[in-house]
Symmetry: C2
Subunit: 350 residues, 2 copies
Amino acid sequence: MRSASFQQLEAFIERCLTAVGFPENDAGIVAALISDADLNGSDGHGIFRLPQYIKRIQNGGINIQPNIHLAEDRGAMALVDGDNAMGHLVMKYATELAMQRADDHGVAWVGVRHSNHAGPAALYAKMPLKKDMVGIYVAVGSANHLPPWGGTEMLLSTNPIAVAIPTNEEPPIVLDMATTVAAYGKVKTAAQRGEQMPEGWMIDKLGNPLTDPSRAGEGFLLPIGGPKGYGLSLVFGLLAGTLNGAAFGKDVVDFNADSTSFTNTGQFIVALSVSAFTDPDTFKNNIDAAIRSMRGSPTLPGFDSVRVPGERSFGIRRQREKCGIPIPDSLYDALNDLASSLDTTFLFES
Amino acid sequence: MRSASFQQLEAFIERCLTAVGFPENDAGIVAALISDADLNGSDGHGIFRLPQYIKRIQNGGINIQPNIHLAEDRGAMALVDGDNAMGHLVMKYATELAMQRADDHGVAWVGVRHSNHAGPAALYAKMPLKKDMVGIYVAVGSANHLPPWGGTEMLLSTNPIAVAIPTNEEPPIVLDMATTVAAYGKVKTAAQRGEQMPEGWMIDKLGNPLTDPSRAGEGFLLPIGGPKGYGLSLVFGLLAGTLNGAAFGKDVVDFNADSTSFTNTGQFIVALSVSAFTDPDTFKNNIDAAIRSMRGSPTLPGFDSVRVPGERSFGIRRQREKCGIPIPDSLYDALNDLASSLDTTFLFES
């Protein structure tokens, strides 16, 4: 399989975005964030999405000259209006604002409306780490795949939640999870590979297990812990969507199927300054110790080791920094088709 | 079955607390909160716990003359030191502070250390509702019943999460959930009733399903969504515990088994002022509409209706306000034994 360096991905994405009219500075910001997603192993939320983003930009579904601005501002709390910009730009703006505000107030909660799909949740939860802050990010997912518990109408998204906690010597703790047993991307991957899904991922409209991913359209994802995962998806969807004046429920536009309608995606980011609570070094040592105590637990039969959220992604990042980011043939072809259509140079050219 | 009014429970709890030396004002506050838990149907976290609380107070495990005070204060963020008071007093103080601060800053995050078991999570998440605020409450549970995913050492608690969202005409949304498939209280209830547990609640140390609740000591609870529930329990435990300088992991004292050791329980409450984001009436109407859209979904076979978190508890509250709070014989006997030992009058006397 081919592999590309971070810089190669970044330069390619920047070329494609400028080819469709993106201002150079914004193209650079988005390209770096998308490439970072790939470096972390979030393959389903990285450059894989570029053709879809470009299509939406070409169809006028994203504003490439946005005026991202504050709609409300109370110091520790702010509401950002993304003016239908690329989600990456809106969320970078919102997260940097939250970090500044948390410096002054100990905590900051920044809500976002009129945003768009912004890539993997971990990308934004991790940003505050470099300032010894905890990051908490929640988004209304860009398509509904989940009915309320006991129902059959897909009114909810997988609404991802990410929490990042700084460490000293250990990899940071980075939880990045959908509120469903399986993210919808996993269903798509199983379909592409012609594999069956395990029971528990999806059910059909009669409540029977659905294990054939090619029939995914006939059923829906199951929430974690049944009514609990439904509850998490509901309350976080209302806080990331409705509270911010963003889409929720029936109003959510399927980003994958529709490349023109204004999505009004909602997100929020919380930054929490560790130094407001305690000495950051002491705290980070305590988190290191907590990680080691988890890892030190005896294991169940069938498990080699106990892991901590973020450990797998951290390992992938180290590996890819050395050996590059794998580019499967199908992705390589899709990216070169995109480059041809935009009349720009291919992935490994410059 | 006997049933008691809110006022009867409240007066009884107040008598018992003053009998063991509680100042009258504090006894009244705790009695009202415990009775409120019973009114809401949180039977496992209400007056059922009184004998355990009293035992701990008698053994010096709780400070009845506490100096609850701010350890850190940054305006929108504060850290409360509970001085080993009853958790109810500490959390009432912290939640009222969070509501005041959210009035000024739009959001407030108040962490708590040196606290104790404070009853059901929903009690505190719901307090901000009356000011048109969202409440989010997380606690480090008062005993470890959960190993890290793939491990066998019980290093984690069920760490409850509660989120409350205000409404206009509909019952408020109140999610109150453990990060395990079943709360430990449900296992105890099954054991008392001589019932088997369904597969999926617990496993034994070899990873096999454990369905006999009398063998609960040989196994552990399962987290919701496997590694996801573990991740939620871990990150929320670190934010409610470690970040506040409170107990986490190996340091958690089993409140049920040990009635003397200082627990250093950690909790946090977030209050979010809806008026900082948007017009509260518009918001609450939108939440009403979201609730109705969930409830309007067609149902799966086997389900009569779709419910929203908090609906069941709201119905129980209405019922108990009219008809009283049921007092099973075993509870009645335990409370009268307690009254005898404290030389105070019985539940239905005054």
